[in-house]
């Protein structure tokens, strides 16, 4: 019979010899192997100090983008919410009032924009659906929280800081 992989090995069902039956010799061989591991490279990543680089296509927490003048891109069209397979996104639209032109790029904006990070599956469909380049997935992931409410991210969590404004912690 042809083996399926090149690593296939025939199972040895011969009765154990005396050396194998008292186990000691084989245990010794195993111990030589583990002893050699003392000098092997340690695989540990010392997490808070050292971080593993994410892959360039990593999909993490979302951000809401602004344009070059610091105005919000999102027009609350709801395409992301429609595209979302996990139904994690909710939003409420509002009309831009005169004098708010420096805040919102178009006449309609999202007054409320919430993503439930416990529902989100980080598929990135919202990013693909967005016609206004408003939502992007970043390279961070949701930190731990004590209650479920903490995982519902509102606009203040998602919006990137405007130019000259400091990001709230």
């Amino acid at each position: 019979m042809q083996a399926l992989t090149s690593r296939a090995r025939q199972v040895d069902r011969k009765p154990m010899t005396f050396i194998e039956k008292i186990y000691l010799w084989n245990i010794l061989k195993g111990m030589v192997i583990t002893f050699k591991h003392i000098w092997k490279r340690k695989e540990t990543v010392r997490y808070p100090e050292q971080k593993r680089p994410f892959s360039p296509v990593f999909r993490g927490l979302h951000i809401l983008n602004r344009d070059a003048e610091g105005r919000e891109n999102c027009t609350a069209c709801g395409l992301c919410a429609v595209a979302c397979p996990a139904e994690a996104i909710t939003m409420e639209a509002a009309e831009r009032k005169p004098g708010e032109e420096h805040l919102y790029r178009e006449e309609k904006y999202a007054a409320r924009y919430e993503i439930n990070m416990l529902r989100c599956i980080f598929c990135g469909f919202c990013e693909e659906a967005c016609p206004k380049d408003a939502i992007y997935l970043t390279e961070t992931f949701a930190p731990a929280n004590y209650n479920r409410e903490g995982f519902i991210y509102g606009k203040q969590d998602l919006l990137i800081p405007a130019p000259g404004e400091k990001k709230k912690a």
């Binding site: 039956k21 008292i22 186990y23 000691l24 245990i27 195993g30 111990m31 192997i33 583990t34 002893f35 591991h37 003392i38 092997k40 490279r41 340690k42 695989e43 540990t44 010392r46």
Partner: protein, 345 residues
Amino acid sequence: MNIDWFFILEKIVLISGVLVISLVVAMYSTWGERKVASIIQDRIGPNRAGFMGLLQPLADGGKLFFKEEIIPGSSNRFLFILGPSLAMIVACMTSAVIPWGDTLTIAGHSISLQIADINIGILYIFGVVSLGVYGIMLGGWASNNKYSLLASVRAASQIISYELAMGLSLIALLMMTGTLSIKEIVEQQRHGGWNVLYQPLGFVIFLVCSFAECNRTPFDLSEAESELNGGYHLEYSSMKLGFYLFAEYINMFISSALMSSLYFGGYSFPFMDSLGLAPNLVTILGTAALFIKIICFLFFFMWVRWTIPRFRYDQLMRLGWNYMIPLALANMLVTGAIVLYRSTH
């Protein structure tokens, strides 16, 4: 009546010293265990609490003390508490007859670094170590839990099977040395060679059996996590659990000390008497040598644990009865024949 206050003081200091040392060694064995495991598995291991994680055992102990203490409602309360206490007491008792060093001379008094040099030291150790299984059995029985009960039954039958082979391998050693006092066995090795050279097979059997006696991998059937949810200490929490785990490490320490004393020359080291140093210095160096040997054995215990998986129960029993005991008997016969031949020629 004339009470020798110096004698009493000396013994109290020695007893507390040995107790503290065995507790500290047991504490740091848990650290060592984790470090050895991590090194063998290409990890770093505990490194947060203190330099190289050296404060980790303190943090663990503190955590165990402050954990909630749960005594199951259907358990036998008295026996439930007696179990871990007995395990701990018995583990601490064995250190009394082990010679931790030669004699120190302070202000004209010569102090033997052994708490009690009784002439049946080995018998004493065997007696006390066999009591250790009561801690496990009582704990498992009193928990009123079938997993715990199964584990304690396993532990009991395992220790009985392996104690036989252990005793037989020791008989060969006793025939050779002609004494039951551990101090005297060490002194003989100081002038002759180490016993492991004359009793290699006996040593290997003793080593395997001490793994079984300490419930260490590959013989940790009584706390098999995958089958018995932790075994006899399944229902234990807080420091009572800590006592069981601690007793295991103290047992390991004591059996390492015993193996060093019986087979590897105890506190003697090569060229001990030809260095021409002060006797007190030689004694201290000897104690250091003993502790180096003990640490090597402790490392060996851990090394084996992180190399091989545990045996199946029938394999364990077959190894004990079909291989260890016949081998120990053969070793005893050969040793006996040689001793007899030597004494008649």
